[in-house]
């Protein structure tokens, strides 16, 4: 990119996802001095994906805290700060590394409001780059979203665009409850778009319609939106209209948008890169059956990551590809 182009893009608010996140954090920290950032390498390093770039210089070591190498310390300290009255945004360097801090999330963060009868609350955010496609092998590619969705007390969002990353992060920071913000790391730098300036917020729990269509509903979120949209475009070329929903939030998820679309269209393919077995899309499938079974012309079909640890050599093949999505659509259409 030439430098004039870069300047023009910056002025017009055109940003990658990583830039949109850093900018949102900056704006929220400027707006509200209760907002603090904590994580590994979030300080001088600006985060290994630069999602906290320049915050350290601007806000100093008390508000941009380079933690020791411990996810339990990060999440637990964020909880303590939130209980005290701050609005911490914790970064887990890779979603795969949330597990050493999983007890803090499940036993403390998710339950503090409940167990204290509302006396203490956890208005905090835990951001984490997630998902595959970066040749990282199974400890840099996993998608633990289902574990969070299954944990009462947590909210979970999973944007797929720079704008939604900014808008959902802002909503998460301002939310009264703990929100897990999953970020599809393979899209961090690959897409740019104009991100609305100012108080742009995206409501947690609302899906976005990415394509309109009457033949099949495609439901996806996060990293897999890219492949889902490719599949939808291929279908358009074949004259098949796909109604594409980007869930954006997984807990709560937009049941209304999904059920209405499925009731209307009768065929649905659910796309997620999380492992299949007891994965989040099983919940969507079960809910569809429970609520609108009579409208179904074909069973809800899942295209997901496989029930293996995330592979290395087959990094791309693990992910739901446009091809696998199209095969499922075909099965749904010809059922």
């Amino acid at each position: 990119m030439t430098s004039t182009q870069a300047v023009r893009e910056r002025q017009s608010g055109v940003k990658t996802m990583a830039q949109a996140i850093a900018a949102t954090l900056d704006q929220e920290m400027a707006r509200d001095d209760r907002v603090v950032v904590i994580g590994e390498d979030v300080g001088k390093r600006g985060g290994v994906f630069l999602a906290t770039d320049k915050l350290f210089d601007k806000y100093g070591p008390d508000r941009v805290i380079d933690s020791p190498l411990s996810e339990a310390a990060i999440i637990g300290a964020a909880l303590g700060m939130a209980v005290y009255g701050l609005r911490p945004v914790a970064e887990i360097q890779f979603a795969d590394y949330v597990f050493p801090g999983f007890d803090q999330l499940v036993s403390q963060v998710a339950k503090i409001r409940y167990r204290s009868g509302g006396a203490f609350t956890a208005p905090l955010v835990v951001r984490m780059p997630a998902g595959g496609g970066v040749r990282g092998g199974h400890h840099h590619s996993q998608n633990p979203d289902t574990h969070f969705v299954h944990t009462a007390g947590l909210k979970v969002v999973y944007p797929s665009t720079p704008s939604d990353s900014a808008g959902l992060l802002r909503s998460a920071i301002r939310d009264e409850d703990p929100v897990i913000v999953m970020e599809p790391k393979r899209l961090y730098r690959s897409v740019k778009e104009a991100v609305p300036e100012g108080d742009h917020a995206v409501e947690i729990g609302k899906a976005a319609v990415r394509r309109e269509g009457d033949d099949v509903v495609l439901v996806s979120y996060g990293g897999s939106m890219a492949e889902t949209l490719k599949a939808a475009d291929a279908l358009t070329e074949q004259g098949i209209g796909a109604h594409v929903l980007d869930l954006r939030s997984l807990q709560p998820w937009d049941e209304t948008a999904v059920l209405e679309a499925v009731a209307r269209v009768g065929r649905v393919v659910l796309v997620s890169e999380s492992p299949r077995s007891a994965g989040f899309m099983a919940e969507v499938s079960a809910t569809i059956s429970e609520e609108v079974m009579d409208s179904l012309l074909a069973p809800p079909l899942r295209v997901t990551g496989f029930d293996t640890p995330y592979p290395y050599v087959q990094d791309r093949e693990y992910l739901p590809s446009p091809n696998r999505i199209l095969k499922a659509v075909e099965r749904a259409l010809t059922y």
Binding site: A72, R113, A119
Partner: protein
């Protein structure tokens, strides 16, 4: 060993002790505390001892499901409570801290209400007994998973650095807790950040049945402070004055910004681990008897008596008075009424999500 008040040494070989077996003062400095304060320690220890009896009775009658007795731990807990600036500092207790909580000012009706799960429970009946909390007192609600409160405690201390209100967090736990990864993660973060926090360990030599030798290779808990670049104080936790003065020094040190520390209170629990335990499976009766001889109440009563501050008459009156308060608090807690069924669905989030509204309907409708 001890230079002066405000000058206790960390990492001593023997626990810091200020009251002798006969109640004599052992300190190399003059004790500078008002008689009322001195008597207050005793009254608070007595309340801790007596509430266990009362709640134990309820438990045996099937009216509450669980008791975690603090008998043997009272001096450490009461000393610690008096070292805290109540309602200003934050306290992260664990389930055995009933004496601590009462001494901090938690009303009996609240503690009992929590144990009974009635409307007197400020936490709305959400947890098993001995798991209270108080927003008013800055007492974080007890959680069962051992040591899981340690990183959050450090989080409040980090927040205090930003807030600049000269507050301190005290985090309380047992010897077994120090083996958990979360304990280490939290204490290490505090050390790295110089957070204003005191880690208060009640070492009673057992985690349920597992004795300290199987728990860790170190001889004391205090020595673990070396790993975090902080001082570790070893205190006789059955000596309320040593407990109070060392805790106060550690807390004020943190308040002044000097840094965090670990205080190990050497104690013993007389009873089983909880009402569900059978301690005869793992320890000899003689061991229990031996420790009972160092009883913190007896020893401290001798101290007070030597100073003319206490006698049998005072004892009888205090016991009767405290017990009456306990009985009255428990009665109020019992009569507060039953927590409604539908509360099960509240406080999961700030706003009840659609899904929970439907689930509530499913159960009630």
């Amino acid at each position: 060993m001890i230079r002066e008040s405000q000058g206790f040494q960390p990492f001593t070989d023997e626990p810091i002790r200020l009251i002798g077996d006969g109640g004599e003062w052992l300190g190399p400095f003059e004790l500078d505390l008002e008689p009322e304060k001195l008597k207050g320690f005793y009254l608070d220890m007595l309340a801790g001892r007596l509430i266990d009896d009362r709640l134990g009775r309820l438990q045996r009658q099937g009216k509450t499901s669980f008791v975690a007795p603090s008998a043997g731990h009272e001096a450490a807990q009461v000393g610690l409570a008096h070292a805290v600036r109540k309602g200003h500092d934050w306290v992260f207790p664990y389930y055995r801290d009933v004496s601590l909580l009462l001494a901090l000012g938690m009303p009996v009706v609240e503690f009992a209400g929590q144990s009974l799960g009635t409307m007197a429970d400020t936490a709305r009946g959400r947890q098993m007994p001995y798991h209270p909390g108080s927003a008013e007192l800055n007492v974080f609600t007890v959680a069962s998973p051992i040591a899981s409160h340690v990183p959050p405690a450090v989080g409040t201390a980090l927040a205090m650095k930003l807030a600049g209100r000269s507050q301190v967090t005290v985090c309380s736990f047992g010897d077994g807790a120090t083996s958990e990864g979360d304990w280490h993660a939290g204490v290490n973060l505090a050390g790295a950040q110089g957070a204003p926090i005191v880690f208060a360990c009640q070492n009673n030599g057992y985690a349920i049945s597992v004795d300290l030798k199987k728990q860790t290779g170190s001889d004391t808990i205090a020595v673990k402070a070396h790993a975090y670049g902080m001082p570790g104080y070893l205190v006789d936790g059955m000596d309320v004055l040593a407990s109070f003065l060392v805790a106060r020094e550690a807390i004020e040190r943190a308040r002044e910004g000097v840094g965090p520390s670990i205080v190990e209170f050497v104690v013993y629990r007389y009873g089983g681990h909880s009402s569900a335990d059978d301690d005869s499976r793992y320890r000899a009766r003689q061991e229990v008897e031996l420790w009972r001889r160092r009883d913190p109440l007896d020893r401290y009563r001798r101290f007070l008596e030597r100073r003319g501050l206490w006698d049998e008459d005072a004892e009888q009156r205090a016991r009767a008075e405290i017990d009456a308060q306990l009985v009255e608090g428990i009665r109020q807690a019992q009569e507060a009424g039953t927590v409604p069924l539908e509360w099960m669905f509240e406080d999961v989030y700030a706003q009840m999500p659609e899904r929970l509204v439907r689930q509530r309907e499913e159960l009630l409708g």
